[in-house]
Symmetry: C2
Subunit: 339 residues, 2 copies
């Protein structure tokens, strides 16, 4: 087998670190995951990531690995591979040298990317945004992240921060967000936002089956529980999802005004196609978009599901590695020239 046919992806999540080995066609040939245990601190978590990469490499041999891509759940400098702020990690990981540490530990070139941008790279490369000139990819889970495709290519923007639709402000005096603003859509339409609003209504004595479903323990309420209760006719649960979807729809309408995308890809565990939340979000976005021909915009479910983050990280590792190789070749091929 020729050298460098495979690329390894690592998706650092709050609960699990996922690993995948992709072949030259982008197909996943090996999957793996380990608990993150972020409380152990960055050094040990980085060792876990390195060990996982070495396990992947052992399946095909080191020389078959072209590069490693790592998805990071938060602010990270793409060029240097150093984290800036991971809001859901203990100590928030300021200045953790992910790329260089993993590079030294594994011997492979390592490139990092924000996890929501990785999701968009995956859906652009292998999923629901493949042929769109302009696409917006949104992933809804613990947070709301996103990534853009423009001119048929992923967009990274300053510091790789383009696509942060979760921090569009949709309610002027809304709840304080972990980012510092008030009323970010992430505070009103993410999984925890749905749970928070459901719990508030249970606590205020609304008539709902949610209390029983949670075994009378408000800490046990999950977005899935709210979704299931709503699907089974619980009007309080349905109302919570309707409102959360409305807020997402207002944010999507803003993104539509700015980007006029042909495709909006929605992924993550919270938004199920055809569910109340999805329908509320899509209907709100459509009924609040007047400056573009909304009838031509398609809302599509993400295609890569649970694997999107790790696939996108791997695809990014490969793309960035090829780009650097090309730039190097061009520089060494160019004749010395003044200035």
């Amino acid at each position: 087998m020729a050298d460098g046919q495979y690329v390894a992806g690592v998706d650092l999540g709050g609960t699990f670190i996922k690993f995948a080995l992709l072949d030259s066609q982008g197909q996943v040939v090996v999957r793996d995951s380990v608990p993150t245990r972020a409380a152990d601190g960055a050094e040990i978590v980085l060792e876990r990531m390195a060990a996982g990469v070495r396990r992947l490499a052992a399946t095909v041999g080191d020389s078959a690995i072209e590069a490693v891509g790592v998805g990071i759940p938060g602010l990270v400098a793409m060029e240097t591979g150093v984290t800036i702020d991971l809001a859901n990690f203990p100590g928030r990981w300021p200045g953790v040298q992910v790329a260089s540490t993993l590079g030294v530990a594994t011997g492979f070139p390592v490139h990092v990317i924000n996890d929501a941008r990785a999701f968009a790279v995956a859906e652009h490369g292998m999923g629901a945004a493949q042929e769109a000139d302009v696409a917006l990819c949104v992933t809804i889970g613990t947070g709301i992240g996103g990534g853009l495709v423009v001119h048929g290519q992923p967009v990274f923007g300053l510091g790789g921060a383009a696509g942060e639709i979760g921090h569009l402000i949709v309610r002027e005096q809304g709840p304080r967000c972990s980012c510092g603003n008030r009323g970010c859509v992430e505070m009103l339409a993410s999984g925890p936002a749905i749970v928070g609003e459901a719990v508030r209504r249970i606590a205020q004595g609304f008539t709902t089956d949610l209390r029983r479903r949670a075994g009378d323990d408000l800490r046990a309420v999950t977005p899935e529980m709210v979704t299931l209760a709503a699907a089974e006719g619980d009007s309080v649960a349905a109302d919570v999802l309707q409102e959360a979807g409305y807020h997402l729809g207002i944010a999507l309408a803003g993104a539509i005004a700015l980007l006029a995308p042909r495709v909006i890809v929605i992924g993550g565990g919270v938004a199920q196609p055809g569910g109340i939340y999805w329908r509320s979000a899509e209907a709100t976005a459509r009924s609040h978009s007047f400056v573009t021909d909304i009838s031509q915009i398609e809302f599509r479910p993400a295609m890569l599901g649970y694997d999107a983050g790790v696939i996108g990280a791997a695809l990014w590792g490969r793309a960035r590695h090829a780009q650097i190789a090309e730039d190097t070749a061009r520089r060494s091929a160019a004749p010395a020239s003044p200035a």
Copy 2:
């Protein structure tokens, strides 16, 4: 002189139609303008536009004109050159065939573009957004329009509608916008929004010099008058500009979260660099942006001023014409192949 060195630009405005002839370097060599008199109807206005193009062509000879670009103040289908809705024109111009009518009347290939996108094309091609990978161009006047640059190239999006930052919702239950939504930033930060708020405060008896400046005629209040009064110490006028700038800043913060642009170009008559409105907008955008490194974002005044629209229209006419010629050449050069 070789044929086709010049391109003509037309900027259809609510008050004036501007014309410019650009040489091969993009320099304006002839300028012209006539009153629009939109009340005369689309047919007569199109005749005025055609006559202006013919006057430009007469200065260099028809064979020296490569193409014509036309900027349209509203929704227009770029591919077909047919208007959809010009909110500030009588009857709103549904379905006016601008490109084909002007093409027949002048004998030149005609390509149309929304006027705010033309502004962005001009600032990207010849102005303040020239070298940016990602830039947001915003023009503030009667409305708030905009255009995007991504991957160093202008973005048009579905139907050419990308960049409509004026229709980002910044106040959930804000005033109704001509687009149909409530609380669009255009309703809170445009020239008319500033005038409306100033007039409201005069009418409510706030202590301000604006009433005297307007000669006791509330219809005489202009954004320039409010700006001048504020600069000369009128605290009511200053407060109106501060608030309008705040709303623009919130919209800019939303666009920053989504796009992570390195450069924000602000133009149009209302926003003067260093003025209260500009400073309020910039400070608000900076203090509400947490998910990208705001210190690296530059706010720049537009460089092309009054000419931006007509230059951008002309540059678009040239770019689109070249693109079509290239596509045609590629198709005729390609060997017939099975689909």
